[in-house]
Symmetry: C2
Subunit: 227 residues, 2 copies
DNA sequence: TGCAAGCATTTTGTATACAGTATAAAAAAT
DNA sequence: ATTTTTTATACTGTATACAAAATGCTTGCA
């Protein structure tokens, strides 16, 4: 993750220069496959089969699996290869606790350190997200939702913070997506987001932290039924 | 035939009796080499040379390097292999900010969730640490210092938190060790630790958080001259 | 002397081959 | 029929081989 060239989520991957290493290509691909559920939790990964499917030999595939193992998306069982990691309810709750703490930290820093332009960008994302919400476009809404959270963390201008946040976020991505169903929950989340953005624009660190706190605590409530 | 790897002597973890996989062995070994400075920041890693040095072929070595790249200890440059990652002063400061936040979070949780026995264990570590301090045994002192911080995080019983904490801690390990020189700084750190343990024993979450806050902020002051 | 082009060497990236191990199925024994 | 042992097979772990890319050096020329 750290030294991986991560491309912005939601961009066309065709547009990126084809110069990315095969290793990186496979890592990105597998990560998406896990997040999107093509590879299900608990599923064993057969290197030959998957390699053939992706059109690569076992060597770079294995290297990619080691990389993802360090990210925590797969588990390496000695002499039995890689298994897609399955997270317990407590795991997810714990991750959300940490994510919450990290976003609160980022928010506080952002209130004093971020530029007006950067905050303005978040507002734009939020407005676009609301449009997708009103249009009932759940996938697009969700992607922007993620981008907003990532964006707030990015405002803190703290690379390690952004990195570990991204690490945990990728793990709960799928579960969160599934959990965001239900109209009234959805509406609640949007309202919370509005308050978050407002606090950010006002650079009111304590209010922002409080809003993020409740938003992410509610996030767990929204999600916990599906884990 | 599986290569006859000469066992790394000295720091064998007795708890893990079963022989680790070669992959895990190499990862551990390389991580230690980086933390201990055998592989210096910015240094390029030549796979053939290092592999021969460790008595393994390139394949598992490369897999280990990918793993460490994901941990952020090495950087993968396309077509030019792995380089030991060099951290800027801002990187280190940022990491300590995140570590501080995570330890504060852990401390708050620990005050309500940890058992008396577990807290007692931390006290024992602290007392032992003080003994090493008084004896001037810097390395031993430092190791226990680390263990205490890790231990406090462990009290929170939150695996993802412990994981990301450990991830960042391993990155600043070497720098911190170097930075802990100087008698008066050392004394200050010990005094802060004493207050931390006291707050923990009293299960006074706010005091504990405040003490951890200042302790780790001071930690940066102690360290920033050497980065 | 300075510079550039081409060749040689080194190093990484990927594929394949081989050995060891676990799993499953079949055969044998009770 | 059930349990145990044997055997076959599939898969992972590691090493080696080969291809592509980068680096460095030599040589030729102005």
């Amino acid at each position: 993750m750290a030294s991986e060239v991560t491309e912005p989520v939601g961009r066309r991957n065709v547009a990126t220069i084809s110069r990315q290493s095969l290793h990186g290509e496979i890592v990105t691909r597998l990560r998406d496959m896990i997040i999107e559920g093509d590879l299900q939790p608990g599923e064993r990964i057969y290197e030959n089969q998957l390699g053939e499917e992706l059109g690569v030999s076992r060597t770079p595939l294995r290297e990619a699996l080691k990389f993802l193992a360090s990210e925590g998306l797969v588990e390496l069982v000695p002499s039995r290869g890689a298994v897609v990691k399955r997270f317990s309810a407590k795991d997810v709750e714990d991750m959300l606790i940490v994510l919450r703490s990290m976003e609160m930290l980022a928010g506080r820093i952002a209130c004093v350190a971020a530029s007006d332009e950067a905050i303005g960008q978040i507002r734009l994302l939020h407005d676009a997200m609301v449009k997708h919400y009103e249009a009932g476009e759940r996938l697009e809404y969700y992607k922007l939702n993620q981008q907003i959270h990532t964006g707030i963390v990015a405002l803190a201008n703290n690379a390690p913070l952004a990195e570990v946040h991204g690490l945990l976020q990728s793990r709960v991505k799928r579960i969160r997506f599934i959990g965001h169903e239900g109209a009234e929950r959805w509406a609640g989340a949007v309202a919370e987001h509005e308050r978050i953005i407002a606090a950010l624009e006002a650079r009111d660190a304590e209010t922002l932290a409080r809003e993020l706190d409740t938003h992410l605590a509610n996030g767990w409530e929204r999600v916990k039924s599906v884990v």
